[in-house]
Point group: C2
Chain length 227, copies 2
């Protein structure tokens, strides 16, 4: 499903080079649920952004669902991303002047669904994160954890083939973090491949496969365990 080989990402700012990813190798099969952990600044968000076609690698190869990403133009990458990828961003990235209903609607509009189908999905997604009553409010009227839940609803509603979640429970209490994990496990059973960055050791332990990123490189812990 996802195959990265020798991926490097270098950011250059006023003559300082930051090597965010170095010779990064990773394969994720269709249907897997992989958690990603690692220290702050180690490259987790950079990895997700490249995986989700939001950024391009400086070098190396990346194949998503059989498609060679490096051969694509910007607009082709954009189309592929809208069709196949769902995101839960570390900073939520909600649109401030849209209410919750419209915020959840944004990615659905790229999927060619009818207005009736979108409305049904939005209402179900908001209900599942406990925010149906706030559909007409805007993000600034919500608590930090509530905003995070809207970002989760937005990704769930899209039923994407491939879901990338960057710290989806960082602002939630333990009970709600577990509920969100259950929602994600549910859509994983329904066929969505999930890669989730988390700092929560409980959630990492709960996933079938965990990968650690340190200093821009992968350490796949599962290759050391007896299965």
């Amino acid at each position: 499903m996802l195959k990265m080989k020798g991926v490097n990402k270098v950011y250059t700012t006023d003559m300082i080079e930051t090597h965010a990813l170095r010779e990064f190798d990773l394969s994720v099969e269709s249907g897997e649920f992989v958690t990603v952990t690692g220290p702050s600044g180690s490259g987790k968000t950079t990895f997700l952004n490249i995986a989700g076609l939001l950024e391009t690698a400086t070098s190396g190869s990346y194949e998503l669902d059989g498609v060679d990403i490096l051969g694509l133009s910007d607009s082709q990458r954009s189309v592929l991303r809208n069709q196949k990828v769902g995101f839960i961003f570390q900073g939520f990235n909600l649109i401030p002047d849209l209410n919750l209903f419209d915020n959840v609607d944004v990615p659905l509009r790229y999927r060619g669904l009818s207005a009736k189908e979108r409305k049904a999905r939005i209402e179900e997604a908001l209900a599942r994160v406990g925010l149906a009553a706030r559909a007409k409010h805007v993000p600034s009227q919500l608590s930090g954890g509530q905003q995070q839940r809207v970002a989760i609803a937005r990704a769930l509603a899209g039923k994407p083939k491939f879901l990338l979640a960057d710290e989806p429970t960082g602002n939630l209490d333990s009970l709600m973090a577990r509920q969100v994990m259950e929602l994600l496990e549910e859509i994983n059973t329904e066929g969505t491949t999930i890669v989730m960055v988390t700092h929560d050791p409980e959630l990492a332990a709960r996933s079938k496969r965990n990968i650690q990123i340190v200093d821009g490189q992968v350490c796949d812990m599962n290759s050391y365990s007896v299965s």
Copy 2:
């Protein structure tokens, strides 16, 4: 130091009233280190914003360091806040077009310190959170956890009498979360009164006093334990 009695906070939006705080009573003595926990949407940020003079209560009384807050004008509240309160915001609230050095400098400029003293404090604060090398970068060039650390440095540099921290470790791995807790415990020993909202049960257990907020009301767990 902090005394709230019968505090209510009601948000009114298109005819819906949200009671964020209800008959909220809380006293915090000078020099305490109190953690605050509770479900998402329960009122923790609202409580901190009123405590830190960023918002006003709908009703009830609030006394900070002997001063009756409700009697103050907006500008008097602002002056008091700049002199006495340090904030670590849930959303970091860094200024996007200022580099890290200038971001940490912002609250120091209200304190009447010389440029030499401010420079020394900024460099020390950034070094303590491991970001001295990035002083000339802007927030968008940093990871989520790095941005959170800049917000922490900004609050530490001010050496405020009263520090309000809203989820200061939500984007940090466990090792770094513990290091941040040590930094906070250090300034608490030096005299800063700290109120910290957290979802991390380990940090809540580590603090000398923990308060739970549920549905806009306080449950002070310590009053039930034998001390």
